[in-house]
Symmetry: C2
Subunit: 422 residues, 2 copies
């Protein structure tokens, strides 16, 4: 029936590649993806995932919140809503941010499908192919993926155990600009960073803000863990100090529930309209149902006490991990000591390749994320991210012990000159 | 403190424009946006919006569905989920699509935040700036917005009261290709199209599918209204006839509740991986909470009966609108006679400009959407979309009567040569 006798099969991979947009060439599975399939088996102690621990969340309470929402306001909760997000929730978000010193206008907030969508929208309005985004070294894998999808060039800036180093930032800016490239923004996670768990102290925040203002570079402050400090309160958010040059991202995924997918961006007023248009083009509007669930929860439940319960739960797990690292990991390794959040970053001796070591860890029934996942440039092969948020303290000890043994064997094997066959 | 004495203010609009990505230049408010603010005032009869009517949805039932979900499966519902969407819901979506003749594998489905997100993801993997997307004339304003954001060139293909005309499609393809441009896909809404309400008959579906297969152009079949036929069942979905070249978009927004923001794409297997990666970069994962709400609703409630109730509710409103158009609109106007869905498309005499007429309609306490909103090229100035989904039949009659009067006056004014001062 076809008049094109020699037409291509639409399933033919080579022909298909030509039909995609050029940005699609970079849409390849990450190394983390295949890993998670294995790590989620029940017999494996997963120190890989970043799933919040919901065991401290009373389900009867949540069930009654959603039941009451539908009975009292179902017609609104189940209907299309505003592209920018529900006005009442945007007001309540201002109260949440006030805990970190932020004074904001609800009109400058855009509610998103998790803060991942905010990252996507910011990338969309700012990034032309080849533009540079500055990020911490290492940085959040999900942000790297989004920047990559918008064909940004990601440039890592050095950190130490106090977070991003202001001098290194100044140097990176000069070096990128000397090469003739355009910097669109600095992306960083100042509180209990993913993947290192490191906290950026107040004086560095001020220094970094000043550098970025002077250099006319927006700061994207991603802050999912700010209220999850175990030992003392976090410094004020960077946005508290600079409302003109900071794009602030928040999320209820770690303080209430990730399954609701509610995050937000607080932006300088001049950016709002384009972000709302970008969001409408992307999802039309965020879910009224999940937004109003959070709104009613915030209005009627002791949410600050609930966050304290989460902190206690995570603190016990953090302690279990740090203690067992001390006990079971070799002296030649070092790791961060997070004061909050979900993650510890471990540096092993440089001859170790944590990606190649993964299958051995899986055999020993423990999983982690190899360090290279958090770099855009293949760096970090001797490092790993361990998360303590989800397993019980007992399982964490068991997992770290097993992993310490795998590391010992790997160091021994490498040093004794065994041929590795992977 | 700053070393740059003459630095720009970040709020300076001209300076700001240079900082955005080039695609952001096109992110301008649509004409529909400012309109909706006015049209939502209670004294206005809005024939403008496309909000589903939830008055037929029993809220006690929905409240008990969500309550039970949290009590029996809260730990999963409130947690991060799969980027591709929940496996159980993807199986149930296959059952829903079977009603329109589709046989599908759950593994080829990607659950999205409304089908708008599916449009965004498809644009992302296919559209390079300048690529051509073929659409019906007129077409869905939200799709046009997304294609525009990815810097596509939208080419409209003529319709009649039987939908897209196959000969016009063949001609458009030749003409675009002769001009050296690349066509990425044909986007169409075969059932009760937005904005015309027109149904594409089975023989045209087959013809269009064959043209697109031969020309190696994907068909994006957007089908939010397929189950909302009032008079008889719709023909089989186009995807039922061609699983290799059709990308099918579905949604629960019109059959269950829009506020849950759950839609899906069913795609040829060769496209799935890139779409999942694009979706993870965009939102990480869709909400388990809203997906499982729908899954439990489908599993435990008489959802097909519920769709029948919606159809009865809309049919009464469609009848009220068609009757009152007959009664109150001038003989020089014509309109479509939808067999389902939400919309009627009205053509007025060509000297009428429905955008300029809007303020007069608002004064008469009725709102509609001007025809130009549904064209990428400024066409459609004499047309309007009227929706009958939301108001009561009485309000619809009242609104159409008031609008008919405004139209009469406008025709009179134009024909008598009055100077219009807008």
């Amino acid at each position: 029936m076809s008049s094109h006798v020699a037409r291509h099969q639409t399933g033919d991979p080579q022909f298909l590649e030509q039909r995609f947009a050029s940005r699609a060439a970079g849409m390849q599975p990450s190394e983390i993806r295949s890993l998670f399939a294995v790590a989620s088996r029940p017999e494996i102690v997963s120190l890989a995932g970043g799933m919040p621990n919901l065991s401290a969340l009373p389900m009867e309470m949540m069930a009654s919140v959603v039941h009451n929402l539908i009975m009292t306001n179902g017609a609104e909760a189940l209907q299309y809503g505003s592209g920018q997000g529900h006005p009442k929730l945007r007001e309540q978000i201002c109260d949440v941010m006030a805990l970190e010193g932020i004074r904001a206008n609800p009109d400058d907030i855009i509610v998103t499908t998790g803060s991942q969508q905010a990252l996507d929208l910011i990338s969309r309005i700012f990034i032309d192919p080849g533009d540079v985004v500055l990020v911490e070294a290492p940085s959040y894998v999900g942000a790297l993926g989004t920047f990559h999808q918008y064909e940004a060039q990601v440039v890592h800036v050095s950190m130490d155990d106090q977070g991003l180093i202001p001098e290194a930032l100044q140097q990176a800016i000069s070096s990128v600009r000397n090469s003739g490239r355009k910097i669109k923004f600095l992306y960083l996670i100042p509180n209990y960073q993913n993947p290192t768990g490191v906290l950026l102290p107040a004086d560095r925040r001020t220094e970094i803000l000043e550098i970025c203002r002077n250099e006319e570079i927006f700061v994207v402050e991603d802050n999912p863990y700010g209220l999850l400090g175990f030992d003392k309160a976090s410094p004020n958010a960077m946005r508290a100090e600079d409302s003109e040059n900071v794009i602030y991202l928040g999320s209820f995924s770690k303080t209430i529930a990730a399954g609701l997918r509610v995050g937000w961006a607080l932006v300088p007023p001049s950016l709002k309209e384009k972000l709302v248009i970008a969001s409408e083009s992307s999802i039309l509007c965020p879910s009224n149902f999940t937004q109003l669930t959070i709104s009613n929860y915030l209005a009627n439940q002791p949410w600050r006490d609930q966050i304290s319960s989460f902190c206690e739960l995570y603190k016990v797990r953090r302690d279990a991990m740090l203690e067992s690292l001390e006990q079971y990991f070799p002296a030649s390794s070092t790791w961060t000591k997070p004061g909050g959040g979900f993650y510890v970053w471990v540096n092993l001796p440089p001859e170790i390749d944590t990606k190649l070591m993964m299958p051995k860890a899986i055999v020993a029934k423990v999983a982690y994320v190899p360090g290279t996942a958090f770099y855009a440039d293949g760096f970090g092969s001797w490092a790993m991210r361990l998360s303590y948020c989800h397993p019980t303290p007992e399982r964490i000890r068991e997992g770290v012990k097993a992993l310490g043994h795998v590391v010992d064997q790997e160091i021994e094997r490498r040093r004794s000159g065994f041929q590795i066959t992977e």
